[in-house]
């Protein structure tokens, strides 16, 4: 009897604990999430929260100022939170049913959140919709819907250390415009301490060569895997040849975390990075003199990769109408030029291009890249495949390009099923 009583008591305690836990969860979870694609926007007096993943104080201050200015104009309260781990904090917000209203969203996270209905597809309701670069709009289009407004963008270009360049006897006329010229100057610049060209050993850099050869991992709207194309093989063969010649090294192999570090420490005379490198060099290596050039053309002409984030709006936000207004304000030419001045990215709207070029003459090659830039795959799970591809690229020097691309093709095709 004693045994039985205690067993009942145990069961009772656990039942009580369970009931408590479930009731606690119930208040946080919205039972039946509303559909993110429905047309009507929610509107209320609720304050907005903005969650950003900041690159540093400059970015935080700039976003804070812009949001505060909008807040005092519109009368809607809004506060900015800087995430320490953006992806994780976003996920927690979505599962609890109380996400941030407006947030940074990367291209590779878009598909995951869009497919589970966490995002509001508000792109078509933007008043400045037609002003965005079309390639950026397609990067943030999932399942035929334009989900979110591109916040800004970056492209890859070639950075050249002008002192090492002059020491090697090269002039402005030698700035490479083809692969052959790139190979030649890289060879000229390679010394015992310095390699001609150092880049990150990953798709986000090597992919530029694939674009120049006319290939990419997937087609423009990420509906078809094209990893095993002849063009991509040509590109990887070229990179492999330069690796084996010793004129190109991956940043990690010269003891640097990324191309910018190798370039700043003068371990390499050239690197391929995006416009974020300007801030990094200014802060950490102010003594390095450099110039920016467009990437050389490959067999299929010029090519580069573009990267972008967008302003996501949560489907569970109680005040979507105000959030949309905020996003329109943050993507206006005025705000974007202020952001650009503060922390470097390029405006995502075409109407701000002229002003930006006038302010940043030395960086125009980055903006020119917008014309021929290709996006990274956006299909759900693509980030994993790219990680796998990157891990294989690390051993490209001894690896077989065809084998690497074939396995990546198989992985991408599995995502499309």
């Amino acid at each position: 009897m004693q045994r039985r009583t205690s067993r009942w008591l145990t069961a009772g305690v656990f039942a009580a604990a369970g009931a408590l836990a479930l009731s606690a969860c119930g208040s946080g979870f919205s039972e039946e999430p509303s559909d993110g694609a429905s047309g009507e926007l929610t509107s209320s007096d609720d304050a907005l929260t903005v969650l950003i993943g900041s690159s540093g104080d400059a970015e935080t201050a700039a976003v804070n100022d812009a949001v505060a200015a909008w807040s005092s104009d519109s009368g809607t309260e809004a506060s900015v939170t800087v995430a320490s781990d953006l992806v994780q904090q976003l996920s927690q917000g979505f599962s609890s049913g109380q996400p941030a209203d407006v947030f940074y969203l990367s291209t590779d996270a878009l598909a995951g959140y869009a497919s589970n209905g966490s995002l509001l597809a508000y792109g078509d309701q933007l008043s400045n919709k037609d002003d965005f670069y079309p390639a950026l709009v397609s990067s943030f289009t999932y399942d035929g819907q334009f989900y979110c407004a591109p916040k800004d963008f970056s492209t890859l270009a070639l950075e050249i250390n002008t002192d090492l360049w002059a020491d090697a006897g090269l002039t402005d006329a030698d700035i490479p415009t083809t692969w052959e010229e790139l190979e030649r100057v890289a060879k000229t610049l390679t010394t015992d301490d310095t390699v001609g060209l150092a880049i990150g050993g990953e798709y986000a850099r090597v992919g530029a060569f694939m674009a120049q050869a006319g290939g990419n991992l997937m087609n423009e709207d990420s509906t078809e895997a094209t990893a095993d194309s002849e063009e991509n093989v040509t590109a990887l063969d070229f990179v492999k040849k330069m690796l084996n010649d010793g004129t190109l090294k991956f940043a990690k192999d010269v003891g640097a975390g990324w191309g910018g570090e190798a370039f700043g420490k003068q371990l390499s005379a050239m690197t391929i990075e995006g416009n974020w490198i300007t801030g990094g060099l200014q802060n950490d290596f102010p003594d390095v003199n450099y110039t920016v050039a467009e990437l050389p053309a490959g067999p299929a002409g010029q090519g580069t990769l573009q990267f972008s984030n967008c302003w996501g709006i949560a489907a569970d936000s109680p005040n979507q109408a105000a959030a949309l207004e905020l996003v329109e304000n943050l993507t206006s030419a005025e705000s974007q030029l202020a952001f650009s001045k503060a922390f470097g990215p390029m405006p995502s709207i075409q109407s701000a291009a002229a002003d930006w070029s006038a302010d940043n003459e030395a960086l125009v090659p980055f903006l020119n890249g917008a014309e021929y830039a290709k996006g990274v795959p956006t299909v759900q799970g693509a980030a994993d495949v790219v990680t796998d591809f990157n891990s294989q690229l690390e051993s490209l020097k001894t690896g077989d390009p065809v084998e690497i691309l074939d396995s990546t093709q198989a992985n991408l095709e599995a995502l499309l099923k």
């Binding site: 119930g26 049913g97 996270a109």
Partner: protein, 377 residues
């Protein structure tokens, strides 16, 4: 009920004991239930569902998908299976190296600092224990600097004429000894999407650096456990063994170590569990690079759930890991279980009958002392 001798549980002065016992343990039971049992059960449900990470996992739109998440990991044939296989391979080698090394080193250090004659014992104990109380993140960052391609470790190696590897960027398995391609029967056969050649390749150079880190940080903790156990051992058994003429080496292996068996089990189990759950070093250090050779199931689970929004698969990885840990712990418990000494083994301790016995025939004084102690304990 039929038992006539049953006393009513309400009668007597002990009647309310059970109830008050439950009352006093209720706070912790509720806390554990709320923050441990319920979340674990929820995760178990998620691992069998197609929950996408939005809203409640118990909402009507979430479906039960049976073993889909598990079968994709264990027999899917795709990237998910290959990643899981790679993570298991990396972690298995990590466990295989870290657990024996850290246990051995901890025991060695404990025996050293436990000696009465050692000067500055307090200093050494603190020094050896210090890495254990430092945060993993700080030590990982320190490690990234030490094992940089131009870092202190490679500088030291260069003094003895060795060109150190680019530690955290070197995906080559250490047992491949630089070979890039194995024999066909190894490369063509795969288990969990990873070729036998890769399974046998051992941890990558990068993972080896993490192995050293784990041995460095956890040996101190386990040294403390061993010291406590060593100080609990009675001196009488040692003395008896000395009387029997056992050398220091024999006394350690035949007398001290067997008495440490419970502690050894604790240390091995804690080490095993900790090693299979390695996450913080990977998260702060390499995030699975180079070439996925530092990917571990715990990190993969986090990555699948939080980054790829594949919550079912993330939860499934966690539960497979749980099963692995439980099974390995049971195996270890079986290996370390006390068994009767075999006759063949016992013969070595028996006194040959032609020599007149001095004590109880066939049993040495050390064994008597040990026996007496067991009775007491």
């Amino acid at each position: 009920m039929a038992n006539p001798t049953r006393r009513s549980s309400r009668s007597g002065i002990r009647g309310g004991e059970a109830a008050s016992g439950w009352l006093f343990t209720a706070p912790i039971l509720i806390l554990l239930g709320l923050f441990l049992v319920v979340p674990v059960l929820m995760a178990l449900w998620v691992s069998f569902s197609d929950w996408g990470g939005r809203g409640s996992p118990f909402a009507g739109s979430v479906n039960f998908v049976g073993f889909d998440n598990y079968s994709e990991l264990l027999a899917g044939g795709g990237l998910a299976e290959r990643d899981f296989g790679t993570a298991l391979k990396n972690n298995a080698w990590y466990v295989l190296l870290v657990v024996p090394l850290q246990t051995g080193l901890a025991l060695f250090l404990a025996v050293l600092v436990n000696r009465q004659v050692l000067k500055g014992r307090g200093f050494f104990r603190t020094a050896f224990y210090f890495p254990s109380v430092t945060s993993t993140v700080a030590i990982t960052v320190l490690w990234l600097f030490l094992f940089n391609s131009t870092g202190a470790v490679n500088k030291l190696l260069s003094y003895i004429g060795v060109t150190g590897p680019n530690w955290f960027n070197e995906p080559a398995g250490i047992f491949h000894f630089g070979a890039t391609d194995g024999p066909a029967f190894l490369t063509d056969n795969t288990a969990l999407g990873v070729s036998w050649w890769n399974w046998l390749g051992g941890p990558s150079v990068a993972m080896t650096a993490f192995v050293l880190l784990a041995v460095f940080t956890t040996s101190g903790t386990f040294m403390l456990l061993f010291i406590a156990a060593l100080q609990n051992l009675g001196g009488d058994v040692q003395e008896a063994a000395m009387m029997d003429g056992a050398s220091g080496w024999q006394r350690f292996w035949r007398v001290t170590l067997p008495q440490l068996r419970p502690t050894l089990f604790t240390v091995l189990t804690l080490g095993l569990i900790g090693c299979w759950q390695v996450f913080d070093q990977i998260y702060t250090g390499t995030k699975g690079t180079p070439g996925k050779t530092t990917l571990t199931p715990a990190y993969l689970s986090y990555q699948s759930a939080f980054i790829d929004q594949d919550w079912g698969q993330g939860a499934a990885i966690a539960f497979i890991l749980f099963v692995i840990i439980v099974v390995l712990t049971l195996i270890q418990r079986w290996i370390l279980a006390e068994r009767k000494v075999s006759k063949r083994r016992m013969r070595g301790y028996e006194i040959p009958p032609d020599i007149p016995p001095t004590g109880t025939p066939g049993v040495t004084s050390a064994a008597i002392a040990l026996d007496a102690q067991n009775r007491r304990g």
